[in-house]
């Protein structure tokens, strides 16, 4: 018997985290190639499954705040690097540079593993996956309705993951320079949000402040 209130609450809370996960994987995959990105996502799922099976409900003891500070800080500075590169490209080629499909990125390896794509994707899946798992455990325990909470998270993953897979082709058509600016903006926004939240500070508007941060970075670099 599904507890509809737990299902709805868990679905919405999980959806927020899964959207962040999917945006990271799709954005990085479109920018740097899918092989390493999907391998990173797959490795993240394996680690996540191992943590869930190994720790169970004790997963709530994982120091997520510390992970947020560390991982958020890394993402923050890395996103700013992409923003700088994208901005420099536009400065050199003007807005025509935004349409340059042939724009190359010196640090993308032509063969072997792209460890940057692997790491970004891996981080997205593990960190957001941990958050979703903690949501399921917390909501499920509070209402004694684990199956409803778990089902809600699974449905959110299928729906949003499916939407991300469908959007992949459209994202790949975005010119490289423009995509670098967009993905750099999003990574910087996510990184800023997590790093500050990991310190223990609540953002005004909670997760909605990610949108405000993205708008802030976008406008700052557009001007």
């Amino acid at each position: 018997m599904i507890d509809t209130s737990v299902f709805a609450t868990s679905f919405l809370a999980s959806a927020v985290e899964i959207i962040e996960m999917v945006i990271t994987v799709v954005g990085v995959g479109a920018m740097r190639g899918w092989r390493s990105t999907l391998l990173g996502a797959g490795a993240g799922l394996v680690i996540l499954a191992a943590l869930i099976l190994g720790l169970g409900t004790a997963l709530t003891l994982v120091p997520v705040r510390l992970l947020r500070v560390l991982v958020g800080s890394l993402l923050f500075v890395f996103g700013l690097q992409w923003l700088r590169k994208g901005n420099r490209r536009v400065s050199v080629s003007g807005l025509r540079g935004m349409g340059a499909r042939a724009a190359t990125d010196d640090d993308i390896p032509t063969h072997g593993m792209d460890w940057i794509a692997f790491l970004l994707s891996f981080r997205g899946v593990v960190l957001e996956g941990l958050e979703v798992t903690i949501i399921v455990v917390t909501f499920g325990a509070a209402a004694r309705a684990f199956p409803s909470a778990a089902l809600a998270a699974a449905v959110a993953l299928v729906v949003i993951g499916g939407a991300g897979a469908l959007a992949r082709r459209a994202v790949e058509r975005i010119p490289r320079s423009a995509l670098q600016l967009v993905v750099g903006t999003l990574l910087s926004a996510f990184g800023t949000f997590w790093a500050v939240e990991g310190i223990g500070i609540a953002w005004p508007g909670s997760d909605l402040s990610i949108i405000a941060l993205a708008a802030w970075y976008f406008l700052a670099y557009a001007c």
Partner: protein, 76 residues
């Protein structure tokens, strides 16, 4: 023929160098001042939060300022 321990050392050093180079590029990139500014901003944010001052706005403002200075320096 067993591999010489002397031959193994350069492989380990190459691996270590590649590992350090990767993380340096990931974190610092081509301008260490931006990474340093972000680290300082997060530290100041934490200190101010600890004494009860609203400081969530500091990292995004510092990030934009530091990156703006970095870009201006590149353009000369």
């Amino acid at each position: 023929m067993r591999s010489s321990p002397h031959r193994a050392r350069p492989v380990r050093i190459r691996w270590l160098r590649a590992f350090v180079t990767f993380w340096y590029g990931f974190i610092i990139g081509d301008d260490w001042t931006v990474a340093a500014a972000v680290a300082a901003a997060l530290f100041v944010t934490w200190v101010l939060h600890a004494v009860g001052v609203a400081s969530w706005w500091i990292p995004p403002v510092v990030a934009v300022a530091a990156t703006g200075v970095s870009l201006r320096r590149i353009r000369g």
